[in-house]
């Protein structure tokens, strides 16, 4: 009997194949026995050979690991994508306006739409950004919106990532690998291409260069080869044809930023940084940071360089601000939100706290500042002991937690040990802002490989899939 508790993206309840999956289902059925296993091994070999790995920090130093890749693609129809892309763009537009407002007059607080202490007491609110006009009013140039699906037409936003969202290189490499392994699947030209993402990114980054610079120089700032996402940094810099710089490659002089080149100093106009706020300038933030450029903030503040994403974007993707995003959209755009928010209990509210503690077994509880799937409690999958321990943690600092109903994440056919079986998935499309606000048709699909698991994070054993958007 098919499990009808979860929305199966390929098969309807009567086992018929949904339209978008027509080609994939046919292809799956026609594959010779054992072919999926062979291709999976081949894909793994390719990933390893190309060095597409991420570093995992463990007791015995760091280790290079592959993120498991599932060879069965995930498919969206053109109309589904229309909804998702419009909804994601709407969200990012509103959040950028929210950030600009927060660092200027904070009208939204004065209008009583969001509590002042949530914003101004937030760890990610950067006082240094106050009053600063950034080019184009864009703060989050690159945003990743995490979406889940629960039914035919219901999608929820799980969280917004406005700091330095990663994963886009997997969107690009997964597609490249699929085209290499299964060229026949792409014969019909039905799948929208994604490989122009780096070009789009560069176009948007150049658009936000400081005023009066004709041919801006863009550089990507990485914490270095030991960062877990280093492959992605190198990959993006390479495909945009820009320099991949580490902090010691940059220096500040005469209120400008320069990189040290073999021909002497060369000015940098836009820095696409993959270094966190607190590490980016030891003079302004953490003094012990070895990853930052001393004096960068002062150049930024005087308009000598653009930093993307801007500092202080974390205040808008914080889990405690998340419940207010629908109101944020209404406030700035005067539109109804296209994508749903997950109902969220704020445990700093005594009533919400009581409800949550009474229903721990049914809810998902997360740390307000957590990420990567660490430190969360998935109620239905937890043991009594885990819930007791978690309850104690929550009671220590209720304001540090939120709770949400456990969503019935949709499933996609996935190749696992027992054969092809449904596994839960999410989706992260990447929204670019600068010149305009766009999203490349595709995204990163993460899949929880363990049966029944709802946690898709790669740090928790999740894998990825190629994501198809069908063209009309």
């Amino acid at each position: 009997m098919p499990d009808t508790r979860f929305f199966n993206e390929m098969l309807a309840d009567d086992r018929s194949v949904r339209d978008a999956y027509g080609d994939v289902a046919q292809w799956l059925a026609a594959l010779p026995e054992g072919q999926l296993g062979l291709k999976t091994e081949e894909a793994e070999l390719l990933f390893r050979r190309m060095g597409i790995t991420f570093l995992v920090y463990g007791r015995e130093g760091s280790n290079e690991r592959l993120i498991p890749f599932d060879v069965i693609p995930r498919v969206f129809s053109a109309s589904e994508w229309d909804l998702l892309s419009k909804g994601s763009i709407q969200r990012v537009r509103a959040l950028n306006m929210f950030l600009e407002d927060l660092y200027h007059g904070a009208e939204i607080v004065r209008a009583g739409k969001i509590p002042a202490e949530l914003v101004f007491n937030n760890d990610y609110y950067q006082i240094q950004m106050h009053g600063l006009d950034v080019p184009g009013g864009v703060y989050a140039h690159i945003a990743g919106i995490d979406l889940v699906r629960v039914s035919e037409s219901d999608f929820y936003v799980l969280e917004d990532n406005l700091r330095a969202p990663s994963g886009v290189s997997y969107m690009l490499e997964n597609r490249a690998i699929m085209m290499r392994l299964f060229p026949e699947l792409f014969d019909g030209n039905a799948v929208a291409p994604v490989d122009h993402y780096p070009e789009e990114l560069l176009r948007n980054l150049r658009a936000v260069a400081p005023r009066g610079i004709g041919e801006p120089t863009v550089a990507l700032l990485t914490p270095g080869a030991f960062n877990s996402a280093y492959f992605e940094h190198a990959y993006l810099a390479d495909s945009m044809g820009i320099e991949l710089v580490e902090a010691p490659d940059l220096f500040v002089r005469d209120n400008k930023v320069f990189m040290r080149t073999t021909e002497g100093p060369q000015r940098v106009d836009v820095i696409y940084r993959r270094v966190d706020d607190e590490f980016i300038d030891p003079l302004a933030f953490r003094a012990d940071s070895m990853l930052g450029v001393p004096g960068l903030l002062s150049v930024y503040r005087s308009g000598g360089v653009t930093v993307a994403n801007a500092m202080g974007t974390g205040v808008a993707d914080d889990k405690s601000v998340y419940p207010y995003v629908p109101d944020i959209i209404r406030f700035y755009l005067d539109e109804e939100p296209i994508l749903n928010n997950v109902p969220t209990y704020m445990l700093r509210d005594p009533e919400d706290l009581r409800y949550t503690l009474d229903n721990l077994a049914d809810l998902v509880v997360k740390e307000v500042h957590g990420s990567g799937g660490y430190g969360m409690l998935v109620g239905p999958a937890s043991t009594k002991k885990e819930r007791e321990e978690y309850r104690a943690r929550v009671l220590e600092n209720p304001a540090g937690f939120i709770a949400q109903p456990t969503l019935s994440l949709s499933t996609c056919p996935t190749y696992v040990e027992s054969g092809v079986a449904p596994r839960h998935v999410d989706l992260r499309p990447f929204v670019l802002s600068g010149d305009d606000v766009t999203v490349v048709p595709g995204g990163l699909t993460r899949v929880a490989l363990t049966e029944g698991s709802l946690v898709v994070n790669s740090s928790q054993g999740g894998g990825t899939k190629d994501t198809w958007i069908l063209q009309e």
Partner: protein
């Protein structure tokens, strides 16, 4: 190009070249011990391999007694020995990983495959029976490195820094190998030499892939001064000091254009010393002294290069 990137390209090429050189150094010692001789001579072959590799102290700390199997393992596969083939391949790959944005995908993939293949090997590959095959594999992978670089990289600045690293490393190794055998190359030993020296010179030539070349050029029996001449001054022998410096100065000219940085002057001085010298003069001033001076000067070129181009603070 970023100064740091130039520095990493330079070192990536040096490490790659070092893997091949190290394979050659061990191979020489290995062959020496296979020729009929007493235990003491056999031991000294291993000691001199450790000396050329600059690994004597490290080896003594770890193993103490000289023993063929231990020496080969220490120089080939020991991750704790910074000069081992294993460490050099790892360092090549670490640099390549940091350089992904500056080298071609083909280059990264070939370097990465070398590393993955090495990691999949166990200690059996250096058992006496399989040793030579392992050394051949190391050399093949280094040849591949150069071939892929030549065939896929833009002929630009990046390539220049790689070429410079390669020639500096190669010249250094040739000079060290020669220096470790300088006592058998002195004219005085030529008379008292006999068949043992013949083997010593022969192995030295083989380790530099110059055994056939010697016969092709001189069409005569092996003599010490000709061996030295071939390896130091011959312009056709790809691993000779002269040849390395012919290429190095040419690359520096491409790189520097009309600017004339200090490293180019130092390299030019060394080059003219090789170009206009006769082998008799080398022996007159002392072969060992000549080689020591060369090794120092060669290192100086590398250091000055860093100051001139890499904005090293």
């Amino acid at each position: 190009m970023l100064g740091r990137v130039a520095d990493q390209l330079y070192w990536m090429a040096r490490y790659s070249e070092r893997t091949e050189n190290m394979a050659r150094i061990i191979d020489v010692a290995n062959r020496m011990t296979l020729t009929p001789q007493d235990d003491e001579t056999r031991q000294s072959a291993w000691v001199s391999a450790l000396e050329v590799a600059g690994a004597v102290n490290g080896y003594n700390e770890k193993h103490g007694d000289i023993n063929g199997a231990d020496v080969v393992h220490y120089l080939a596969l020991d991750p704790d020995n910074p000069a081992s083939i294993y460490s050099a391949i790892r360092a090549t790959r670490e640099n390549a990983r940091a350089l992904r944005g500056s080298i071609t995908t083909e280059m990264f993939e070939s370097i990465n495959s070398t590393w993955l293949e090495l990691k999949a090997m166990d200690d059996d590959v250096i058992k006496p029976a399989g040793r030579r095959a392992f050394f051949d594999w190391v050399k093949d992978r280094a040849h591949l490195f150069r071939g892929v670089a030549e065939g896929t990289m833009l002929q630009d600045e990046a390539m220049c820094f790689m070429k410079i690293g390669l020639d500096i490393e190669r010249a250094d190794c040739t000079a060290r190998l020669l220096d470790s055998k300088y006592h058998v190359l002195l004219p005085a030993s030529e008379e008292v030499g006999g068949s043992l020296d013949y083997y010593q010179w022969g192995t030295l030539l083989r380790s530099l892939s110059a055994f056939r070349a010697y016969h092709k050029i001189y069409r005569d029996r092996i003599s010490a001064s000709r061996v030295a001449e071939l390896v130091i001054l011959n312009a056709q022998m790809p691993r000779s000091l002269r040849c390395c410096y012919d290429r190095l100065t040419e690359t520096l000219e491409d790189l520097c254009g009309t600017s004339a940085p200090e490293c180019q002057r130092i390299a030019g001085k060394i080059h003219s010393g090789l170009r206009y010298r006769q082998i008799g003069e080398v022996f007159d001033s002392g072969l060992h002294e000549f080689l020591t001076e060369f090794i120092d000067g060669n290192a100086q070129v590398g250091q000055q290069l860093a100051r001139d181009f890499m904005m090293v603070r």
